[in-house]
């Protein structure tokens, strides 16, 4: 092994174990490492580095920051096609007056702002999004059965949850979709149990191949730009349905719940262009 190879091996090993100084990095860049699979040294260290690692759960607020970072990265690095730009300009995507909805003033302030700020960018980004979580489909049974608890039906579970202390309740009203002005219902959420149910009436059946309903929880722990994904659901029957909430992050102090209409499979970040139902938590409801 010649001197150059020796130096290169030294540098590759040091890079993997301790990292290199700026000078060493330059030195390594000048050497031909093509025959050595330079990454394999760092991968060896990465494999060793996983030993004895106690995996801790990432804080929720950091998870939310990372989601926002991803939004920015995708917006910067993936171009939008014309169709998406056109959608941005359609009346459906414009901010719709939701003053009639019973909401707190502060919620209205930030919600309106968030819709305006996020609509076009988030919509375009969302075109590239698909949901990683499996679609939760409401079958013929109008009350979807949650997988977590099998003993009680959703209606019974909802009633049981309502008797828990410190539950948050709010009434659903219409959102910004004219055809869904008759939507009503309520939501109950237990911060302690991190479980909740929506009771909804007046939501039309959705074409599951094209669209899904998705719940968003606006929690004080999250930026208004990144509400907590409360899960997707479909409506395939008339009448009242009870839908279990599948929150992806901890929601301790929800301020509002919004049901949006999204593409099949749901989205990571909603453009909030079609809000089917909205429930704002009033002080005396929590």
């Amino acid at each position: 092994m010649d001197d150059k190879n020796e130096i290169m091996l030294d540098l590759l090993c040091k890079q993997a174990v301790y990292g290199l100084t700026a000078e060493e990095t330059k030195q390594l860049a000048l050497l031909d490492t093509s025959g050595y699979d330079a990454d394999s040294f760092e991968m060896t260290a990465a494999a060793i580095g996983q030993l004895d690692l106690k995996i801790e759960r990432m804080p929720d607020h950091l998870f939310a920051k990372l989601m926002a970072d991803a939004d920015e990265h995708w917006a910067k690095n993936y171009s939008f096609d014309k169709a998406e730009s056109d959608v941005c300009g359609t009346p459906q995507r414009k901010i719709i007056e939701i003053a009639e909805t019973k909401t707190r003033g502060s919620f209205m302030d930030w919600f309106g702002w968030a819709v305006a700020a996020a609509a076009c960018i988030a919509l375009a980004v969302n075109i590239y999004s698909t949901r990683s979580q499996p679609l939760e489909i409401v079958k013929d049974n109008p009350t979807p059965t949650p997988t977590q608890v099998e003993k009680l039906d959703p209606q019974q579970q909802r009633l049981q949850l309502m008797n828990s202390p410190e539950v948050v309740k709010a009434d659903f009203g219409k959102g910004n979709v004219k055809e869904m002005a008759e939507v009503s219902g309520d939501v109950v959420w237990s911060p302690e149990k991190q479980a909740g149910y929506m009771r909804l009436k007046g939501l039309p059946k959705n074409d599951t191949a094209k669209q899904t309903y998705q719940l968003w929880i606006f929690d004080s722990s999250q930026s208004e730009k990144t509400p907590i994904d409360g899960g997707t659901f479909d409506i395939n029957s008339d009448g009242e349905v009870i839908v279990p909430i599948d929150a992806k992050l901890r929601a301790m102090t929800p301020a509002a719940f919004a049901v949006t209409i999204e593409k099949a499979g749901g989205v990571v970040v909603s453009d909030r262009g079609k809000i089917a139902a909205l429930a704002a938590v009033k002080p005396n409801q929590s």
Binding site: Y36, Q50, L53, E56, M67, T130
Partner: protein, 186 residues
Amino acid sequence: MAQAILKNIADGDKGAVQECLKTYGGLVWSLARRMLRNSDDAEDAVQEIFLDVWKNAARFDPAQSSETTFIAMIARRRLIDRIRFSQRRITTDSLEDVLAEPVDRSDKAMQISLEAGEAAKALESLRPEQRQVLNLSIVQGMSHQEISDATGMPLGTVKTHARRGILQAREFLGLGDSNSTKEVSV
């Protein structure tokens, strides 16, 4: 299915982001916490690391490693950079704890990735001095000099153990071309 996450991200599928964070967020967060020993620094680092992950997802080769080890590699690069930049050094108070940490590893700790399990076997195959140096440097994040100070080994010996240890572990794991880097153990 986990092996498809990085490919989906490389393909511009933003929906894979949430899955990636759920699957590997704990790994990256825990690595950052262990190496930086400061939650605020760790949060900043994790943000930088995942940005690197989005940018480098297309480089992932499933024939070379698992997604876990690929992401751990990206994480280590960024964490080492931060440590070098900040000149963070392990505190004297924690040094004794680090040196006293047991060599035994639970099965649970070894199951993070296939390579981690193999890495444990690789370490066991090394000479005790090499194993100690790699453990202190890679797992505990200590520098050459710190290891020398802590163990009493001459600096040159620490470097030699690190080099030989990583080369043999690499060969044990079947990474890279072993013929070009094989060394005689002394």
